[in-house]
């Protein structure tokens, strides 16, 4: 990965959208090379809904992601308190580009939504989305699929990225997930994690095992896949690790998902099978 050349930062405990936008422009112009500001090249807006218990994991996943996917990252941290404020930290992570003096910058906007602000996140996110570029929403933890907050955000994004391995109630939760498929394209990092496993099984076809051993979400998804693709039912055995390919970093897995722009019919039919839906 390219070295970080510099990080610029702006913080306000009680910010407005206009101030955040002004800060983004100001930060870009702080460093310039021969009168030319740093470059902003964006391929998407990456929105993340991060409840407090997922904060640390989210920060770890995001490290280096901006360098791989030049984008505007909007981190929404809901805060369960009485205040009614929007606290913002805006930063510009700028990377060196080989052979070029100007740096390439990714924008990261961290927003703490206090009190009632956490009930209307879409009204805060929409003005900050980059126009005409795809919007990905990474929802940490188990979404409350029926909640107004989830509904608001699902309606403003092109793709929802979840990790069903973070959910305590799979495969039951897939019954709620399938309801979303016609509303928003869904990526599941647990599904991505099973890719080497599925490749191995596809290469082994038609010599398949009659038992799958691994973590609950991943084994359920692979079982749904075998059933939906080939009508094969297998037994499941619980284990903490995947038989193959379980060593990829969360940021690599998310990075792969950010390259996908279309619905995944194979995933959807696997989940439908698990949910008992045609």
């Amino acid at each position: 990965m390219a070295p970080v050349a510099h990080v610029e930062e702006w913080i306000d405990e009680c910010a407005t959208i206009a101030e955040i936008e002004a800060a983004l422009v100001d930060l870009r112009y702080r460093h310039s090379h021969g009168g030319e500001p740093d470059l902003r090249t964006s391929v998407l807006t990456h929105l993340a809904w991060v409840p407090p218990e997922w904060q640390e994991a989210a920060a770890e996943t995001l490290a280096g992601l901006g360098e791989r996917h030049p984008s505007r990252t909007l981190l929404l941290f809901p805060q369960a308190d009485e205040q009614d404020e929007l606290a913002a930290r805006v930063s510009l992570e700028c990377y060196e580009l080989p052979g070029i003096e100007r740096h390439l910058c990714s924008e990261v906007i961290e927003l703490r939504l206090h009190g009632a602000r956490a009930e209307a996140p879409a009204s805060i996110a929409v003005p900050l989305l980059l126009p005409d570029l795809p919007v990905f929403l990474r929802w940490r933890g188990r979404p409350d699929f029926g909640s107004p907050v989830f509904g608001q955000l699902a309606d403003i994004v092109d793709r929802l990225v979840v990790d069903s391995a973070e959910w305590p109630d799979v495969p039951a939760a897939y019954r709620e997930l399938v309801e979303l498929f016609d509303r928003v394209a869904v990526s599941d990092i647990a599904w991505r994690r099973t890719l080497p496993w599925r490749r191995g099984l596809a290469h082994a076809w038609p010599e398949l095992p009659d038992r799958l051993t691994g973590p609950p979400a991943e084994t359920a998804l692979v079982a749904g896949w075998l059933d939906s693709r080939a009508g094969i039912e297998v037994e499941l055995e619980r284990a903490d690790t995947l038989p193959v390919g379980g060593d990829r970093k969360p940021s690599d897995l998310l990075s792969d998902e950010l390259d996908v722009f279309v619905r995944d019919p194979v995933y959807e039919s696997s989940v439908r099978k698990l949910a008992g839906r045609p």
Binding site: T41, R199, A202
Partner: protein, 502 residues
């Protein structure tokens, strides 16, 4: 014809688990036999490309490489030399796992490549590799041999082609040295191989940024409506190198810039810039459209072609010798190291819209660009319009791959002064994965049987027809070489070609 998508469908029908797993880009079992394996190309390009494919697990599961050349060497020595080359020229980190996977299936055979006895030995060795690696008689022959060895080699390979597998030939440039020799080579190839078995390589077509030119044109609704004589004033294509000829004097003295770069890379860039939208992105559809452009290229008048040869000068502050002082070059050599021309594509889209092209060695910097200059606004509305240049869309093929657009913008403050500013898109900035080397893509495509990015026989012949016509005019006069100093943008006359148009 089995297309890639229908092949994928067939694969899915056999194996219901294959869909969505991107299994299709893994080629069938085969042996890659490299003729001319002791040469620089194998070291600098072919093996680093094979390593990159091995690193990404894109090589066939059952695969072998056979290096064939005259140089006496054991397989162990060849493998050691290739490991050194991969460490020096590879774009990926060196891992023992990837290298061992490739090295285990690599063999070397020291033999004459263009005679019967040598080819018998090659055929026997290949059969042995089929048994050892399960490569099922499938062959990719990479012909990286001097032009004089090509006809005999093609003939011998044709006689020994296997009947129990497929055969593909990757033919390196130069493909002939004029129209007649190219036709002869095409006839020879057609005698034993079908056109879809022949992959004439022009590595420029394997570059991601060259393919991005097609994406820019045909995946964006805003460009195609203005991509014609009505809105475009002219196009400038530059293929500039700051390097000299290195140790290629023997080849370069015979070929010159026109055969080395103009005949292939440059004319392919003209074709890709000027072609009509193909009906799909299949080999035949793309090549049909390129061919139409090549056929529509008028032979430029002698006054519309400038040739040059560099004299002594400086590159990046360091003195460099003139072409005639390079080792191996005749002291009164008349070989050109620079060509500029005004080309006209005579069709409805491009009539009266010149394509100014220039290629050369020892120019100030290495750069390949396509600059599309749009027409000026019809009426200067704002004050001091002299500072405002027409819109130019510049496609940077190398280095700093990307696209920039020059637009007019108001200078802040009072009045209405407009200045030209650049909007830049850097390919490497938006997509932060390393760009694959052209040879990786092309070798993989040949193994997969996808000829979209290779040049067809009729394209090659049209390219040579134009070059022959230009060279014929050169024979009538004696050039006053050298006529540009190393480190400059070529002879003044080349600049004047464009200035006359303005």
């Amino acid at each position: 014809m089995v297309t890639q998508s229908s092949a994928t469908e067939a694969h899915t029908a056999e194996n219901p688990l294959a869909e969505g797993l991107e299994l299709r880009r893994r080629p069938e079992p085969c042996v890659l036999a490299i003729f001319g394996a002791s040469g620089d190309l194998t070291r600098r390009k072919i093996f680093p490309a094979l390593y990159a494919l091995a690193f990404r697990k894109l090589l066939p599961e059952h695969f072998a490489v056979l290096g064939v050349a005259r140089s006496p060497m054991s397989t162990e020595e060849f493998v050691a030399s290739m490991e050194e080359a991969v460490r020096e020229f590879g774009r990926d980190e060196f891992t023992n796992e990837a290298w061992d996977a490739l090295a285990r299936c690599t063999r070397y055979l020291a033999t004459e490549v263009a005679d019967e006895e040598g080819e018998d030995r090659v055929a026997t060795t290949l059969s042995g590799l089929d048994e050892e690696f399960g490569t099922r008689g499938n062959r990719v022959y990479y012909l990286a041999v001097p032009p004089e060895a090509m006809p005999k080699l093609v003939e011998e390979l044709g006689e020994r082609r296997t009947t129990n597998g497929w055969t593909r030939l990757i033919v390196e440039k130069p493909f002939g040295h004029d129209l007649e020799s190219a036709r002869e080579l095409n006839r020879l190839l057609a005698g034993t191989f079908t056109e879809d078995e022949v992959f004439r390589i022009d590595h420029y077509l394997g570059k991601d940024t060259v393919q991005n030119l097609l994406a820019l044109r045909f995946a964006n609704g805003i460009f195609e409506p203005v991509w014609n004589r009505q809105f475009i004033d002219h196009v400038q294509i530059t293929v500039a190198e700051s390097m000299g000829i290195g140790n290629r004097a023997a080849f370069y003295e015979r070929a010159g810039a026109i055969r080395d770069v103009f005949q292939n890379h440059l004319l392919q860039l003209v074709a890709l810039t000027g072609m009509e939208p193909p009906i799909d992105f299949t080999a035949e559809a793309v090549r049909n459209e390129k061919l139409k452009v090549l056929k529509a290229l008028a032979t430029p008048a002698p006054t519309e072609v400038v040739r040059g040869q560099y004299g002594p000068g400086s590159i990046e502050g360091r003195p460099v010798p003139g072409y005639r002082e390079e080792p191996g070059v005749a002291s009164l050599s008349e070989t050109e190291t620079f060509v500029a021309a005004r080309l006209e594509i005579e069709n409805w889209r491009w009539a009266d819209t010149p394509f100014f092209v220039r290629i050369g060695k020892r120019l100030p910097r290495r750069e390949t660009t396509i600059a599309v200059q749009f027409k000026r606004v019809p009426h200067p509305l704002f004050e001091d319009a002299s500072e405002l240049r027409p819109n130019v869309l510049i496609i940077h093929i190398q280095p700093n791959e990307g696209v920039s657009l020059a637009i007019g913008a108001k200078v802040p403050g009072e009045g209405m002064r407009v200045r030209t500013v650049h909007m830049d898109f850097l390919y490497g900035g938006a997509f932060r994965t390393g760009l694959p080397e052209a040879y990786e893509r092309l070798i993989l495509d040949a193994m997969l049987g996808d000829a979209t990015l290779f040049t067809r026989a009729d394209e090659i012949e049209e390219q040579w027809a134009l070059v022959d016509a230009i060279v014929a005019a050169w024979r009538r006069d004696k050039p006053a070489f050298p006529n540009y100093a190393a480190g400059t943008w070529g002879p003044q006359a080349a600049q004047e070609l464009v200035e006359w148009h303005r």
